[in-house]
């Protein structure tokens, strides 16, 4: 037997508990002090509800758009050779490495009426920064590497005989893609979608500048509202909202696990 089980497991559990789990449980403990009526009142505050709606719908839209572009990018990276491919491959992960605040202020200025891109759009009367469009744009920026990273390995390991089988049976490349390849990619795509969505719902740094944070225009995101409540020392509201956001995150995490378990059951031939 390999030694070190007790030590490594002990340290793992201890560090996980002290650094992550106990602080999170503190949020839970504090929110338990609130009565259900208080809890409901804090959550049904109009601004809070709109912030939830904004975060969830914008993240969903951005994650869907990312699925579309993510498949194209992954396909291009795996199947084609062209000059500059390695740069393209590297740059995809930029959002993982670039600090969110930097991304936030940059996108916000770039897409504002005086920015390079925002200027072009403002001439045709489309405002991007400080609207939901800008918000979705920032979430696309943050989410794209999750989808691409989830799909690329699956596409790389796809058995070429599958496509040949479809081809030999007379399927066009369109049918082969939509009937065979896409179903092979579906679990990875769902995982990437869920990760991008989870990241988007809780995103703070990259969205708070471009969103404008207007309560009137419903461009406040949920993490901005938590931060606002913290700054006002309104800990009751902050924890109540955080608890719901945590539940949403755990729900998504659970969903991803279910997909992965189901996938390994489906695809395991042995």
């Amino acid at each position: 037997m390999i030694p070190g089980f007790g030590l490594s497991l002990g340290i793992t559990v201890l560090m996980l508990s002290v650094l992550i789990l106990i602080p999170l449980v503190s949020v839970l403990l504090y929110s338990l002090k609130l009565s259900p009526a208080q809890f409901a009142r804090l959550l049904t505050n109009e601004n809070v509800l709109f912030a939830f709606a904004t975060s969830i719908t914008c993240s969903l839209i951005a994650a869907l758009i990312n699925c579309f572009f993510g498949i194209i990018l992954a396909w291009v990276l795996v199947r084609y050779d062209f000059p500059g491919k390695r740069i393209l491959d590297g740059v995809i992960e930029l959002p993982f490495c670039l600090p969110t605040a930097v991304a936030g202020i940059t996108l916000s200025k770039l897409y504002s009426d005086s920015g390079w891109v925002g200027g072009l759009f403002s001439r045709v009367g489309v405002k991007i920064s400080y609207t939901h469009i800008g918000l979705v744009l920032a979430l696309i920026f943050i989410g794209i590497p999750f989808v691409v990273r989830a799909i690329v390995p699956v596409l790389e390991n796809l058995d070429p005989q599958l496509e040949e089988a479809a081809y030999a049976l007379g399927a066009s490349s369109r049918i082969t893609f939509f009937k065979i390849i896409l179903s092979e990619l579906r679990p990875a795509l769902l995982t990437g979608f869920a990760l991008a969505f989870a990241r988007g719902v809780g995103e703070y740094g990259s969205v708070i500048y471009i969103s404008g944070n207007s309560a009137k225009d419903h461009t406040q995101v949920i993490s901005y509202v938590i931060m606002q409540k913290l700054n006002y020392m309104d800990y009751a509201s902050a924890t109540a909202i955080a608890l719901v956001l945590l539940l949403i995150s755990f729900g998504i995490l659970f969903f991803i696990n279910v997909i992965q378990i189901r996938q390994s059951r489906r695809t395991n031939f042995r």
């Binding site: 992550i20 949020v27 062209f82 490495c97 600090p99 940059t106 390079w116 809780g202 703070y204 993490s223």
Partner: protein
């Protein structure tokens, strides 16, 4: 193979490559160019002056400290966790793996909030800290102080290294470790001689990603840090400069950002190199 891969008409190929390049160009590369161009929009001397203000220098030092601590702590954790999770079978393993990944999918603001609710004035650990401070005549604070900044940075980067190392160790299997254990090797020898060489590239890659994320963490630190010049990291300093609103400060914000953009590009290049190495060493082993 030639028929199936080339069968997709070159028109489709051209369109898809164009879409990809446009997407990456507009969404990812343009913003980087914009940062550099804005940073230099008031000339080089202004650029260097904005980088050497007292606030920026203190923020830079704190950021480096937080990054070092986070990478150190999480590397240790990553090695322990990947050893426990890939070398042994036990009940609740899947649950443990899922718990470790929590910081990936929760809002960084919640990370900040959870430390406030633990160590802050309302937190259950506050009386404990009061007692410690009274007994030892210290003034130890977590929230709105250095330890809070460090803890927040550790929290958000917690799973980065274990996440890179675990899949590599899993795919390598543990036959060699078992063989060494049967021959009587101790745990540390097994780790040093067998497991470490297997995970080396993944570990370095994870450390780079962890470092990159630690450098740039904003939401979690922002909740736990209030004093500019003392507990502000670079992203918070950028926020402060940007939010002050006058055009000089905004240019300064982009100047400071340009440092982080350059670091991000270096990380991307390193990532490319290490990923290539890892693939190659993996191929050699297989």
């Amino acid at each position: 193979m030639d028929n199936t891969t080339q069968r997709g008409s070159s028109l489709v190929k051209g369109i898809l490559i164009t879409i990809s390049i446009l997407f990456v160009g507009i969404m990812l590369i343009l913003p980087m160019v914009y940062v550099i161009s804005s940073a230099l929009s008031k000339g080089f001397s202004f650029y260097f002056r904005s980088l050497t203000t007292e606030y920026v220098v203190s923020a830079l030092l704190l950021t480096l400290l937080a990054t070092l601590v986070a990478v150190g702590v999480n590397t240790f954790f990553g090695i322990m966790a990947s050893w426990a999770l890939t070398r042994f079978q036990f009940k609740g393993k899947q649950v443990l793996a899922t718990l470790i990944d929590i910081p990936f999918s929760i809002s960084p603001v919640i990370a900040g909030l959870s430390y406030i609710m633990t160590f802050g004035r309302m937190g259950w650990a506050a009386p404990l800290m009061d007692w410690i401070n009274r007994t030892f005549h210290t003034d130890f604070q977590v929230v709105f102080a250095l330890p809070g900044v460090l803890l927040a940075t550790i929290f958000v980067t917690f799973p980065f290294i274990s996440r890179e190392v675990i899949p590599v160790l899993n795919s390598e299997g543990c036959d060699e470790e078992e063989a060494a254990a049967l021959m009587g090797a101790g745990g540390f020898t097994i780790f040093r001689k067998i497991t470490f060489p297997k995970m080396k590239w993944a570990l370095i890659y994870g450390m780079i990603l962890c470092g990159a994320r630690a450098l740039g963490e904003f939401g979690a630190v922002s909740a736990l840090s209030k004093t500019r010049g003392r507990t502000f990291t670079l992203p918070l300093e950028i926020d402060a400069l940007y939010m002050s609103g006058d055009s000089d400060s905004i240019v300064s914000a982009f100047s400071v950002s340009s440092i982080l953009v350059i670091l991000a590009i270096i990380v991307l290049i390193l990532r490319n190199i290490f990923e290539y190495r890892e693939k190659r060493s993996g191929r050699k082993a297989g």
